[in-house]
């Protein structure tokens, strides 16, 4: 009897990835952020979905995000290989073949959109399809390598999930959904540019035209300050809609104050000083930006609870009717 398993043992090649490699292809960390923001979009919506429908919606929105991540890794394998931060990803490391990443990304894209349609509604599915297209084609294939504004416009892809969650529940887009979108959209540039300030060499090596590479760090610091100042009113205005309230307003006020102070500090810093302390302030600002987004959406979720409603009524807080 032939020992087939011994025969094939020597044929281990790049196509023999483990299950975890395929999970990595879907960018689980990005997916977790998508799950969180989409869940908040669902929870704060005025229409309640059946829990199973809501679970399905979240899973398929996350799957769509994962699919676009796989397509991104397929297309960007060449620059991922060069950058220290991304060199260990499944495609550049050789664990998964590029064709597999493309196949998985394309299949999951179609599956997630069709299933979201069946689970919720056509508009939510169309928005998810557009999000995948925007991230994989507009951002990854086009903007990322062609303009220093790549992060600004590409940030829209990451901003859609709460809107998709909202639309999955309500079936329509409203001012609240747009504000949640804008909150992430305006937050993305300062968040990524802070990262680029202390990871500049990576982008330079890969020839990705990040603002730090094309216009220098001084200009990037200016941009961070301007976008942070533009972000603050967007975040605060949301307090006066049906998804906001006194708790959100208090949280947002503190966070925006800290964020503006942080951006102002980065703007004041001289390059020699930043190099001397190994970009400590930039790293702190980046960490703050993560907390900023998480706490804003957590505050939205808290405002959707009955206790927050009771507090709003007690405080005489009323949402402004926008439309």
């Amino acid at each position: 009897m032939t020992d087939i398993r011994a025969d094939i043992a020597d044929q281990s090649g790049p196509g023999d990835a483990g299950f975890g490699d395929y999970v990595q292809l879907l960018k689980p960390r990005v997916m977790s952020l998508v799950v969180f923001t989409a869940l908040v979009g669902l929870v704060v919506a005025p229409v309640r979905l059946h829990p199973v429908e809501a679970l399905a919606a979240i899973i398929f929105i996350a799957l769509g995000a994962g699919a676009s991540g796989a397509l991104n890794m397929w297309w960007d394998a060449d620059i991922d290989r060069v950058m220290r931060r991304t060199a260990k990803r499944p495609v550049p490391s050789g664990a998964v073949e590029p064709g597999e990443a493309l196949g998985l990304g394309a299949t999951l894209s179609v599956l997630s959109v069709v299933m979201l349609w069946l689970a919720t509604n056509a508009l939510a599915a169309a928005l998810l399809a557009f999000t995948i297209f925007f991230y994989a084609v507009i951002y990854t294939m086009w903007l990322k390598r062609s303009t220093p504004q790549n992060i600004v416009i590409g940030g829209a892809a990451g901003a859609f999930p709460p809107m998709v969650g909202w639309v999955a529940a309500t079936g329509s887009v409203s001012v609240e959904a747009v504000l949640m979108f804008l909150l992430i959209f305006m937050w993305t540039p300062p968040h990524f540019w802070a990262l680029a300030l202390f990871m500049n060499s990576d982008y330079e090596k890969a020839k990705v035209p990040m603002l730090t590479v094309t216009h220098g760090r001084r200009s990037t610091r200016n941009h961070i300050l301007v976008y942070t100042l533009l972000l603050a009113p967007v975040a605060l205005v949301a307090a006066f809609t049906s998804i906001g309230g006194p708790i959100y307003f208090a949280v947002s006020l503190v966070l925006n104050l800290l964020f503006v102070i942080g951006a102002f500090r980065l703007w004041m810093r001289r390059e020699e000083r930043a190099e001397a302390d190994k970009y400590a302030a930039e790293k702190r600002f980046f960490a703050l930006s993560l907390a900023y987004l998480f706490l804003h959406f957590a505050a939205f979720a808290v405002e959707a609870t009955p206790w927050a409603d009771a507090l709003s009524a007690y405080a005489g807080w009323e949402a402004v009717t926008w439309l």
Partner: protein, 67 residues
Amino acid sequence: MALTREHDLHKRRQGRNIGVLVVLLAFVALVFGLTIAKMTTGDQLQGFDHTYRIEMDPGARTGEAGQ
């Protein structure tokens, strides 16, 4: 001594197969759950039945049939 030679490749393939199995079972369970959820909350389902249904007539429910 084992009759067959175990290789890291086998472990990886086994892990991958089990992973795919779990994902497929979870997908089946989710679709089943969705079907049940849609059927239990599905007033709209009756809209596809092309005959007059008293349940679909708000007027009939309050005693003022809309016929």
